[in-house]
Structure formats: C-alpha cells, structure tokens
Symmetry: C3
Subunit: 152 residues, 3 copies
Amino acid sequence: MNLEAQLKELGLVLPPPPKPAGAYTPVVFSGAFAFLSGQIARKADGSLWTGRAGADLDLAAARQAAEAAALNSLSVVHHLVGADRVVRLVRVAGFVQTAPDFYDIPKVMDAASELFQKVFGDRGVHARTSVGVHSLPANVAVEIEITLQLSA
Amino acid sequence: MNLEAQLKELGLVLPPPPKPAGAYTPVVFSGAFAFLSGQIARKADGSLWTGRAGADLDLAAARQAAEAAALNSLSVVHHLVGADRVVRLVRVAGFVQTAPDFYDIPKVMDAASELFQKVFGDRGVHARTSVGVHSLPANVAVEIEITLQLSA
Amino acid sequence: MNLEAQLKELGLVLPPPPKPAGAYTPVVFSGAFAFLSGQIARKADGSLWTGRAGADLDLAAARQAAEAAALNSLSVVHHLVGADRVVRLVRVAGFVQTAPDFYDIPKVMDAASELFQKVFGDRGVHARTSVGVHSLPANVAVEIEITLQLSA
C-alpha cells in the first residue's frame, strides 16, 4: 500500500515528514510496537491550525485540525515505519485545545479516527482517549499520539 | 471471577457495556495487552457525572465520578475482555475536569484505583498518571484509560 | 552504570525514591516493559516546583521543574528498576501546568528529554507527547510519565 497515493485519491496531501519540536525522535520501535511522538495540526504547507476549539475554531475547523494532525502521524508511518508493516493501529490519544465550555471533543477527534480507518481499513480500528487541554505546543488546536502494532 | 457479582457484593452496579462516543472501538487486543478506550463518568442509569471538580463537584462527588468511570472500564473488561484473563492491571491514566485551583487530583483518582484493587486484588495494583484537564467529552468530570496485561 | 554517580557528575542530586500520591505503585513490570507512574516536579529536599508555566514560572524555572520531574523518574529507575536493565526509553509523556497563553511546552519538556539522553545516551532517545494541562497534583508545574523497555 502506498499512503501517498491513497491519500491523493481521498483528495488529501501527505505532509513532509514532521521534524520533532525538541530533543526527541518521531518514532521508537520497541517489541512489536511503534510508539509515535505526538503530532500537531500542521498543514502540508507548513502553516499551523492554531487556536481553541469552541472559540477561535468552530467544529468544522477543529475537525480539519484533527485531520491535519492525523496526516502528520501518517507521514511518520509513511517515511519512518512503512505502512505495509502495520498490523494494527492500537491506540490513539487525542488532545484538543479547548474553550472552557467546549465538550464536543469526540466529534473533533472523529475526523482523525475516520481518516485512519479509511487508510488502514479494519487494521485502523483503534482504542481512543480524547481530552480537552489547556494549551498545546505552538498554540495548535489538536495534537495526536498513536501507537501501532507491526509485523515482525 | 464474576465481576458483576463481585461488584454487587460491594454495593455497586456494573453498567451496561459502554458504546464508543465516535469512530473507535472500546478495546484493542495487541500482543499480551488489552488497550481500552477512555471511559467517562457515566452512571449505570445512563446519566453522567458532569461539571468541574472543585467548582460544580466537591471532592466526594468527584470521587463518585472517578468510581463511575472505573465501573465503565470494568464493564468493558466484563463484556469484551473477560476478567479471568486479566494477569495485571498495568496502567491507569486519569483525566479530571478541574477548576483552575483544584489540585486534589490524586484523591479523586484514588476512588478508581481503590475499586480496581478491591476487584482484582494484587493484580489490580497499577502504575498511574493523573492530570487535571480543561474539558472532557460531554462535560463529564472524569475520564479513565486503562491498559491490561492478559494471559495468552 | 550508577545513576546516582552519573547525576552527581552533572551537578545533579538523585532524589529519594518517590512515594505514590495515592492507591497505586511507582512502577509495573509487564512483558518487556516497565510502566512508570507519573512523577511530579519534587526537588531533592522534598519541596515542590509549584505554579503555572507562563504565569508563576518563567521558561527557565519551568525547565527546572521538568528536570526535577525527570529526576524523580530516574529515582524510580535507580531504586526499583535498575538502570542496567534499560534497553530503551520508549515513551515520555509530559504534562505542563500552563497559563492559558503559554505554548512553549516543548522547550519546557526538552529539559527532561535532554537529561534522559545525557544519562542513557542513545538508549535515551524517546518518543514524546507534551501537552499543557489545567491543573496538576499538588499544584506542581510539571508531571512526567515514562515507559521503558527492559532486557529479559
């Protein structure tokens, strides 16, 4: 499977491989797992989806931010893991930068989850935890952390 | 072991198996682990423990919310994993929706941890991370994510 | 390798083994992994780095808090795991108690990441997720959760 071609068919662009924002690495392989670093809502052109869901961003925009964070996770998979090695998307943790009274966090994160399932099919059905946080790196609206099970 | 009977002896009711709030699944089995999705503070009757610890909910109420989130995690274990397969409750992540100056997060989460240990005994002694978050799905007071090690 | 001696060379003091703040344990061993509980920014003398990054603590102070939380994680490794058994620092999750407009979360967490890499070398290069949270236990500025891969 070629993630880049697959995303193109969905009308989406795989962003370039994200650079870590600090003293860490985008992915660690350990046992059967690939632990990815948190990926933020950066667009393919390098600009960011910034602001708070429920204040600066409405639900539709926050969903686009979640999709962008998912695309950056997929870029790590494409460039540093290899999509063919993915046995299962195990876990997704979603962090949404929220207004104090914004509770539609699952609807935001669904944009990421739906993309993962379009791309990986049954292998993309994952466990998920989503919370609304006070602030995120570079004022982005969404950050996503995924864990994958790989073939040996 | 029958979780439902065990909880009944503790005066507690196992809630029905929780439905995911979006495009994900309640549990993924991977290697020796079961990764559960975040479970929110839903009561057995379907209503929610909503609000902020330290503002809308005092410590006692927030602890009940944590217990409810733990009960929903146990419902996933009962219905979709099998309590007898649990070798160890490995990890608990607790997210408490807090007032800005509410710091008694560990006391809230202890209500969940204590329940897990009542139910699983030594197998229920877990590593834990607890934080206070800005907002949670559906304005619930507590969300809990657990990871279990299972027998082969 | 002796973590205590290694830290001394860096001008740092290994704090005493942290006591859990509630009904959980500092570390669970499961499969090839050691899952550590969240460790807060407690100094070697027992006092805490409290307050919000961007309000009560500037970047330099928040970085010291992150380093303190990392030192407490290393204390768990020293006293309860054994540094020689560490094959790889797999994952670091960083929670920074932030002012609403403080976004330099990666710069704060780098103080922890850099320490881990000084101590463990290549084995310390990890995946990382960092978020800004609303409140933390005991009003600390930073909490860190790490996962390690161990030798058999």
